[in-house]
Amino acid sequence: MMVNLALEYSRYLMLLILILYTILNLYGLRSLDIAWQNRLCRHQMILILMLQFLGYVIIYLKTRELQMVMFYGVQVAVFLVYYLMFGLVYRHGSRILISNTIMLATIGLMIQTRLNFEYAIRQFFFLCIGFLMTLLIPIVIRYMHFLAKFGYLYAILGLGLLAVVWRTGSTTYGAQLSISLGGFALQPSEFIKILFVFFTAAMLHKSTSFPQVVITTVLAAAHVLVLVASTDLGSALVYFVAYLFMLFVATHQPLYMAAGFGSGGIAAALAYRLFSHVRVRVAMWRDPFYDYDNKSRQIAQSMMAIGTGGWLGSGFYQGMPGLISLVRNDFVFAAICEELGVIFAMCVILIYLGFVLQMIWVSTWMSELFYKIAGFGLAVMFGFQVFLHIGGVTKLIPCTGITLPLISYGGSSILTTMIMIGIIEGLHLMKEKEVQEDERRRRWEEEMEEREFEERIGGGSGRDDRDGRNGADGRRPIRWQEDEADEEFEILER
């Protein structure tokens, strides 16, 4: 009885906490003022820890296994150390990206623990490597100015690897996705995403002339076709859409995008006629029960899970997500809906939205086209993958079988996402450095003027004026924390 009550309290508190977190997150988007955002993140971290605590209280009450408590303890320690280290190493990094990463990883780990403890531990292992990567990559990116030079190399590497997987890869669930490497099933199509984005960015950075666009498009199409041939339709779509958007942004030419989507539509219609597995997916989308005993059981179970969960969910650890096959990776969103409820799931979507927007907006700050396109391309890939996963699992669109970044189980998926985040943080850092220097210069000039002014009239202060500048229109300009800046400024002056 007491246990039941504890379970009930925990689940509603979890929902409340996630709603608070989501509101805070959207509020954080209001301004891209990093210092202000970073202060918000402290509150977000507290909410994450609370959510995680409640989640593991439920897990413990349901399993009564001490290892769960230990696993929880290690997680808390790692997350805290990571969060603090990031703050220390990158004072001007975007902590809101990091707190969102931790939040989604936390939700993912709770779900994975609930589904299968062993896999959760493996997931945690990959997350730890990923955390290390996000600590290292930003600094590396900053000094790798030559990245923009290797357009063709990225294409050769990417296409080559994809082709190898296509020919030799082991077939899982009808798609050649993975190659075995030292006991781990590696999914190269995940990592090649990054190469692909770099390739596109490098090519279009060089030139956006028509011949260059044609060459780039042909090579990009080759990537997509190899993926289609490997029947990895989800990844093919992600590459395809990301490419068209990058092309649009680089060339300012909506016609390219229209032509791209047009030919994509024709290709889809052709694929529907040619490939039975495409027709099967569309048929399952139309009627999830049309072949229940065989192929469509997964999507039917997913829909029944979401439908049974309803707004509030059946309660964490109180549903039957295990009935959906591949629930830990391709259908993890259904597990969230079933047990944590549709409202909770909506919050997760909003967190992803904030995450993607933040990533996209970072790219608007970049002055060099390569970084701009690369950052933007990664953001679009991330966002579109989220859309494909959630849309597919909820039957909004035909299911393509793709992971939900940071929540789904899968080393390749986790690491790729973490590398993406690392790169975005790197871009962030580059810009922050520029901003910082600009501001410093401006500050110094201002101060000099002020001094001259003061000397002339002997008194008064310009402080109020400066405050007014800072948020008159609700969207504050990019700047760094003022008191810190003042300190540094003083040091500089001496």
């Binding site: 039917a300 979401i306 439908g307 509030l312 939205l353 859309f387």
Partner: protein, 473 residues
């Protein structure tokens, strides 16, 4: 140039926003609009079983609000109470070592609460289990009791339905069992294979239709001979012999000169065996398929599949037997009720239903179910012709015992042979029309195991049902 690039990036970010907000909107729409359909899907049984621990099963009520099943909490333990015991046992069902009847069909409502979510959260936080919604059935308490008593001690089944809507007004299977004492009697009931008391014979029982099947044989003959069937004649001397096979009329009665109508009214086996041989077996087979044999009809009340076999490869004996409703043909009382209901309803077979509506325990409407047609099995003209023939069965033929006052009955009797050693199963299927209001109709399908003659044993049961129904209206 970079400014412009940013403009494009910003426009893409609006697309992203649109997609994500679209997902949220869709998820909300799904939860409001489609979630219950998936939740209640028959493949979702495992998840629904889990809900037994989270909800107190809601009430099941008759059409007038009388409680048929309710949950009682004693010492923190929930038990199910069935005030009418045996009378409603099969149709209401039970939830003990498996779930049956409306307890099963309505489980998704009984184990779901549509009361205000805030109230539910408050209840949950106070440690109170939510009570499920209330299922209001189409059943009529008085009629159900009448049927149960009228069948006296025979094993068998009866279905009473409103032909124009498909509302099931009563459904009885005998022998009954007391669902209140299931936990004590479970072993006895499960091991009692002779009586199979737990089985709902009305929907799951497969019976030889006997002469009630002549409705379909006659209809097929009329279809194949649209202009000449009125001139069909057969001279009955009590037995009909083909090759080495002999078909007897009931008690070897000599019916004499018979046209189709007379043969139908008198249930003349010889005449039907003779005209059965002239039929196109493939067309006959297909017509029976249209009427619901050999197929899961998709009825809202789960029903076993009735069986009909006939082809050119069959022996003469089987053909003769099949034409008069013997042979390998098997029918559920439910399907027989649907067939006569379709005759009453101008040829349109309605989808039977037991759950009329669902309300929260505070009486707020959650869902209600409208009548739906299953398929059109006859033209209105065929239905009208069949009605005349069935009325003649009651006025001039074997079904006279079904007639009471104030209404007109159309029906067909049947005495189905199951084995040489025992009495035949007594059938009566048909419907009554109020003499003052021809829209008020009620259809019945009754089978009494080893009841003997349909006209003698089953037709009077029909009359009692009709009387009870029209007295109460």
């Amino acid at each position: 140039m970079l400014r412009r690039t940013n403009k494009e990036i910003m426009s893409v970010s609006y697309v992203v926003m649109l997609l994500f907000v679209g997902m949220i909107a869709y998820l909300g729409y799904f939860t409001v609009h489609d979630a219950d359909t998936f939740r209640n899907n028959s493949h979702n049984g495992k998840r629904l079983a889990l809900l037994e621990d989270k909800y107190i099963r809601g009430e099941i009520q008759a059409a007038d609000g009388t409680t048929l099943a309710a949950s009682v909490t004693e010492d923190g333990k929930d038990t199910r109470y069935y005030p009418y015991g045996k009378t409603f046992a099969h149709v209401v069902g039970y939830s003990y070592n498996g779930v049956t009847g409306i307890e099963s069909q309505g489980a998704s409502y009984l184990l779901n609460s549509h009361t205000n979510p805030i109230i539910r959260i408050i209840e949950a936080l106070r440690g109170i289990k939510s009570s499920g919604d209330t299922v209001i059935t189409t059943l009529d308490v008085n009629l159900q009791q009448t049927v149960y008593q009228a069948m006296s001690d025979y094993n068998g089944a009866a279905v009473v339905m409103e032909p124009s809507t498909g509302k099931v007004l009563a459904m009885v299977s005998r022998p009954g069992f007391d669902p209140n004492t299931l936990p004590d009697k479970w072993e006895d009931l499960v091991n009692d294979s002779g009586n199979s008391s737990l089985v709902n014979r009305a929907t799951q029982g497969l019976y030889t239709p006997g002469s009630t099947f002549k409705i379909l044989t006659a209809l097929e003959y009329m279809r194949e001979n649209p202009s000449s069937w009125p001139s069909f004649t057969f001279d009955c001397d009590g037995t009909y012999t083909v090759e080495d096979y002999t078909i007897n009329c009931s008690k070897k009665k000599e019916h004499g000169e018979q046209d189709l109508r007379a043969a139908f009214a008198n249930s003349c086996n010889g005449a039907f065996a003779a005209l059965g041989q002239q039929l196109s077996f493939s067309r006959f087979y297909n017509m029976c398929g249209d009427f619901g044999f050999n197929t899961s009809l998709g009825t809202r009340v789960p029903t076993a599949t009735s069986k009909f076999e006939l082809s050119n490869n069959n022996s003469t004996w089987k053909i003769l037997q099949t034409a008069i409703g013997q042979g390998d043909t098997q029918i559920t009382p439910m399907l027989n009720c649907l067939i006569v209901s379709a005759v009453a309803n101008n040829g349109v077979m309605m989808n039977p239903y037991l759950i009329d509506s669902v309300v929260t325990r505070y009486g707020d409407k959650v869902a209600s179910f409208a009548p739906a047609s299953l398929r059109t099995v006859m033209t209105a003209a065929e239905a009208a012709e069949m009605e005349k023939m069935m009325e003649k069965v009651v006025t001039d033929g074997t079904g006279s015992e079904a007639q009471g006052s104030g209404y007109t009955v159309a029906g067909k009797t049947g005495s189905a042979e199951t084995s040489k050693d025992v009495e035949t199963n007594a059938w009566f299927v048909g419907y009554a029309t109020d003499d003052n209001n021809n829209a008020r109709q009620i259809a019945v399908s009754i089978v009494l195991e080893e009841g003997g003659s349909g006209g003698q044993a089953a037709a009077p049961v029909a009359r009692k049902i009709f009387d009870a129904w029209y007295e109460n209206q």
